[in-house]
Symmetry: C2
Subunit: 265 residues, 2 copies
Amino acid sequence: MTDKHASFVKRYLEVSRSKNSILCVGLDPAVPEQRKENVLANNDRLAFMKQIIKEVSPFASVIKINRQYIIGLTNEQIADLNKLIHRNGMLSIIDHKLSDIGSTNASAIYWIKKEGFDAFTFSPFAGNIGEATKEAHKNDLGIIVLTLMSNPESSIQKETKIGNKSLYIYIAEECRRNNSDACVVGATGNVTNIDLLNIKKVVGENILLLVPGVGAQGGDAENIIQVFGKNLMINVGRSIIYSDNPAEIAENFQRQFNKLYSNIM
Amino acid sequence: MTDKHASFVKRYLEVSRSKNSILCVGLDPAVPEQRKENVLANNDRLAFMKQIIKEVSPFASVIKINRQYIIGLTNEQIADLNKLIHRNGMLSIIDHKLSDIGSTNASAIYWIKKEGFDAFTFSPFAGNIGEATKEAHKNDLGIIVLTLMSNPESSIQKETKIGNKSLYIYIAEECRRNNSDACVVGATGNVTNIDLLNIKKVVGENILLLVPGVGAQGGDAENIIQVFGKNLMINVGRSIIYSDNPAEIAENFQRQFNKLYSNIM
């Protein structure tokens, strides 16, 4: 594995280059009671997650697990998952959307570190991007800041203004100013190519983009790859994890992204 | 206990009236490794929490537990805590600051319901107040929406505008329009009396206020009680749970709030 004290950005660029993959697999295990379709055959979230981790590992650089799907698992169970992810040559992100004040964010970061993740997502409703980034880096964790989401209602991130500036631009600037590791930007819905160019202009070359919404949610990877090159983690979740052949689908996405990249560059 | 299918607002007003207390105790157990002062004597978060629940129960109507302090506890352990809270005549809130999109929020709500909480907090960075409120109420859970926080950086909630409207006013309006149960409004820092009056004007009589920041964080309860009367949960955390005598301090806060109320009314 990469040097644990190197920044998340550096470690990701190393892993993704050596694996030739910008694919991040969103591993969000829904138990049968939760949803009718596209769910686990039984309540064993851990077994399901371990199987997917092993199957997609040749084709993905990152596993992203959403906190809202693993509530109730113990620190040890999650640490075991992360060890498996690392043994299989990938990095792990907890999609936590942490959104609290200083000392409480620090508590989350303490437990996230103990669980063995490499980075976490942060929701900047309460500001605190600078403070949370410092606390993350003190713990050798990457911080990935929600910047412009693609669900219809998150249009408030575009429509709200600070002065003449859209909130999402302000957030991207705060990320650059505080050396946060990555921004989350949606691939569908209300995110336009102009938004992508605006964000690229602000964050430059040192900040990654994590892009959910490709696959089941219908996002288009082409524009994003055109703007961000390989400073990019493209997340695909349900289309892979609930397919009959997760490895095959993961491989298809890896190839598709690499092909788009080589067409453009 | 109150009728499980009654709204959270109704159940809170019933409990707080019968206990004559608008005190909510913030139960956030920091283990010794996390912080130097004001922490548990050991790593047994559960034992600490159970003891506090029993000690403060004569004086408090609500226990609020922050998710970022109970990461790693199992569904069963948390369900046991909630049973203890309910047996002691209180309601329980998970301070989750949920901040995701539809199906993922639904997953969190599924687990929160299984854990036995009565309500959860919601961070509306991605919008979705309407959708999340519907999902909460389908599960007989209350939803408490971050509206105007008091940490310095959360001033973006005041400074960002939708049209001519501050973001926090827009959020309060969304809460009213969607019948959300409560708004979170800070008691310190950048929350002025005018902000409180603005919020009251929007939310009217049917939405509660959850106010953190009293006690250790130095907030002043008087203005808030003057504006919101008893449609109010005032949260006190560290000043109670890390004191030498949590019961006594809780009783002091209960009395103080009731005295302020009777002075004003």
